[in-house]
């Protein structure tokens, strides 16, 4: 019996293209992956057809930030059995989504002197427009996690979900906790670590490189948000700063609005 390879498309909406670049960074492993999938559409690397048709898996990077992209997302969904959203933009809106949490006119007029021609719409994560079946989180994605998600999926297994905060992985790595440092050290005063509220799976990438977690994977299912807000207040962060910091990547989704509001009311 010959099994047909699943047909796969990789799509980029508004983003920095970093997640697609991390796929390229798999180097020869991409060729190995091509033994198992039929890559139909990937503009960054191949001459591709104008539109997607009849895909088993659509992999989408980026958020929607104009009406054409909303239409494109609907088209992709209609032609794909399974949709995987990769990266912070696709899953949360990404850093460009921050303008949704700021004074929109101030943001836009810093860039354009004449606002009449700006056709941009509020930034939307992919799941705000169409149904998303699986996520690969992070800004940018971890290429190994991406590969294992795709391999799990094409072999009929459920991709892994972490459901725990970055702190768990950080402890396993043996990093010194940013909150427990006895004296002010590098960057300790300037930032608050978002490990307690952020979804694990990155291997505590930033804390292991000497920087606090800034939450690029989004919030975990049961985030320690109240404790984090209290810690941030102790470090003289204003409510506005805390809100922007805790949602640096997630301005394109409404899923955290309510919990954030509750946390801010406690202040």
């Amino acid at each position: 019996m010959v099994l047909e390879k699943p047909k796969v498309g990789i799509f980029g909406l508004t983003s920095c293209y970093g997640c697609q670049l991390e796929i390229i960074n798999l180097e020869e492993k991409i060729l190995n992956l091509l033994d198992f999938i039929d890559l139909k559409y990937w503009r960054l690397a191949l001459e591709s057809p104008a539109d997607p048709t009849d895909l088993d898996i659509a992999i989408i990077e980026g958020s929607a930030s104009n009406n054409e992209e909303i239409e494109e997302l609907k088209l992709i969904r209609n032609h794909s059995k399974t949709v995987i959203a990769i990266g912070a933009c696709a899953n949360l809106g990404g850093v460009q989504g921050m303008r949704g949490l700021m004074d929109e006119n101030r943001v836009k007029s810093a860039v354009y002197s004449d606002l009449s021609g700006v056709r941009a719409i509020p930034v939307k994560a992919v799941h705000e427009i169409i149904k998303v079946d699986f996520q690969v989180r992070g800004c940018p994605i971890n290429p190994k996690e991406f590969l294992s998600t795709v391999l799990n999926l094409i072999s009929g297994r459920q991709p892994e979900v972490w459901n725990m905060p970055v702190c768990v992985e950080c402890k396993i790595r043996g990093n010194e906790c940013f909150f427990e440092r006895s004296k002010p050290e590098r960057f300790y005063q300037t930032n608050v670590c978002l490990g307690p509220i952020s979804e694990a799976g990155c291997g505590a990438r930033c804390p292991s490189n000497g920087m606090p977690c800034d939450g690029c994977r989004g919030w975990t299912t049961d985030p320690f948000i109240m404790q984090l807000i209290k810690e941030a207040r102790l470090r003289n962060k204003s409510p506005g700063d805390i809100a922007i910091l805790a949602r640096r990547y997630s301005g394109g989704t409404t899923s955290q609005d309510e919990m954030m509001k509750k946390g801010m009311n406690v202040l």
Partner: protein, 432 residues
């Protein structure tokens, strides 16, 4: 068929969503428009009100493939604004990071994005069977360049360790020795690829004599940060005067902004850098230049690919030199005990695809109150259009497929980074 309209709707194998429309009449160019269709992201607005240490983390997200350049030039720009002087060690580590990015980006472009055209394939995938040794070199070189960025910056895309004032962590000796031991192979491989690229038949040519621009340091081939900008047809000028010399203007017949120097389009990127700095190459870099048979100054945009390979050899040697220094001398622990003051600062650097400018102002609370970013693809955009004036008469007699291929190759030769150029104002948001 004397009139022809060529519409490359969504150019493949470039980073971002770009479109080129060319109208040909009587075998001459009537008009050409390069359009950026990426969604606007308003980065210069998004960083407003942010504390200085948050800005590089956010701003590096303008672009993945140039993320090191954005991170490094933003930290320099912010340090200039706040009156912070980074150490010599920080300069060297940032250079190493930038060489890693040059290698990564150039090799990605030459092997994965451009080379398929030169051997008339649709992507790098069929090359795996037709040119297995080339693809092997691609994986090795590109992978090693990414390792430099991982070991020095903490991650291949969006570096973590480079921050305002210095580095949050230093690479280990084992990692540096590993990189050091593999780099000579990369040099050898790149020399082979230079020979290959030189030997490929039936390639397009143009010779549009327009000015070329790069950052300038009279003592070294400047890839990473300098105080001046220079150009082929004139004298160097201070980096902070970039808006005075590199003029951006709107023209009534088009939506896009045009960048000019002395009222003409100009090019930034590997070929302009090589034209301006070739006498400052390392010895092995000079060997690579000789092997490439480029005659400088070279005005043929297509030769940008070859210039990238010469730079790869040079950057690999410079990486070896810096690694040797740190392997024998180690690192000095630095305290981050600086006293930032409000102010304005500009920094310029070379992204792999050319001149990149960041300018910032910080208020009394050390929050960003002004930000200007000008990307290389924004500078190159007008030149992409004007190149067609020279190219079209040379190829108008050929079949449409050839014309399309050569136009695609022309745009790709710039190694455009459209997601970069679409970060802000240089984007035309109105055209349809």
């Amino acid at each position: 068929m004397s009139n022809m309209r060529i519409d490359l709707k969504h150019i493949a194998r470039v980073e971002g969503y770009g479109r080129l429309v060319v109208n040909i009449e009587e075998k001459k160019l009537k008009d050409s428009k390069f359009m950026v269709l990426e969604g606007a992201r308003f980065f210069e607005g998004v960083v407003l009100g942010k504390k200085y240490h948050e800005v590089p983390i956010i701003i590096s997200r303008i672009c993945a493939i140039c993320s090191v350049s954005h991170s490094v030039v933003s930290t320099y720009g912010i340090e200039n604004a706040l009156g912070i002087k980074p150490s010599q060690q920080t300069h060297m580590l940032r250079k190493l990071l930038v060489y890693g990015e040059m290698l990564e980006s150039h090799l990605l472009h030459v092997y994965y994005l451009a080379l398929p055209d030169y051997v008339r394939q649709s992507s790098v995938i069929p090359l795996a069977s037709s040119h297995p040794d080339v693809v092997k070199r691609a994986f090795f070189g590109h992978g090693l360049a990414n390792e430099i960025q991982r070991k020095i910056g903490g991650r291949a895309v969006h570096p973590i360790r480079n921050v305002v004032g210095g580095f949050s962590m230093f690479p280990s000796f084992e990692d540096m020795k590993m990189l050091r031991s593999k780099l000579p192979q990369l040099i050898e491989d790149t020399m082979e690829t230079i020979k290959l690229l030189k030997s490929l038949p039936d390639q397009p040519r143009i010779a549009m004599k327009r000015d070329y621009v790069a950052i300038w340091d009279c003592n070294e081939y400047a890839y990473c940060y300098a105080n001046e900008i220079t150009h082929g047809h004139g004298e160097p000028f201070p980096a902070a005067d970039y808006q005075k010399y590199l003029i951006e203007e709107v023209r009534p017949y088009s939506h896009t902004k045009f960048s000019t120097i002395n009222n003409e389009s100009f090019m930034v990127g590997a070929l302009p850098r090589l034209n301006l700095n070739h006498h400052l190459l390392t010895n092995i870099g000079k060997e690579a230049l000789e092997l490439s048979e480029l005659q400088l100054p070279d005005y043929d945009t297509y030769h940008n690919n070859m210039a990238q390979l010469v730079e790869c050899v040079d950057c690999a040697q410079r990486s070896i030199d810096i690694l040797d220094h740190f392997i024998s001398n180690g690192f000095l622990e630095e305290d981050f005990d600086f006293d930032p003051k409000p102010g304005n600062g500009t920094a310029v650097t070379e992204a792999p695809r050319g001149l990149l400018v960041h300018q910032y102002t910080f208020d009394d609370d050390l929050r960003c109150s002004f930000c200007d970013v000008v990307t290389p693809t924004a500078y190159n955009q007008f030149k992409m259009e004007t190149d067609c004036e020279d190219l079209i008469p040379r190829i108008a007699h050929r079949p449409k497929e050839d014309i399309e291929l050569f136009l695609n190759m022309l745009i790709r030769a710039y190694d455009p980074c459209i997601s970069c150029s679409a970060h802000s104002i240089k984007l035309d948001v109105r055209f349809q």
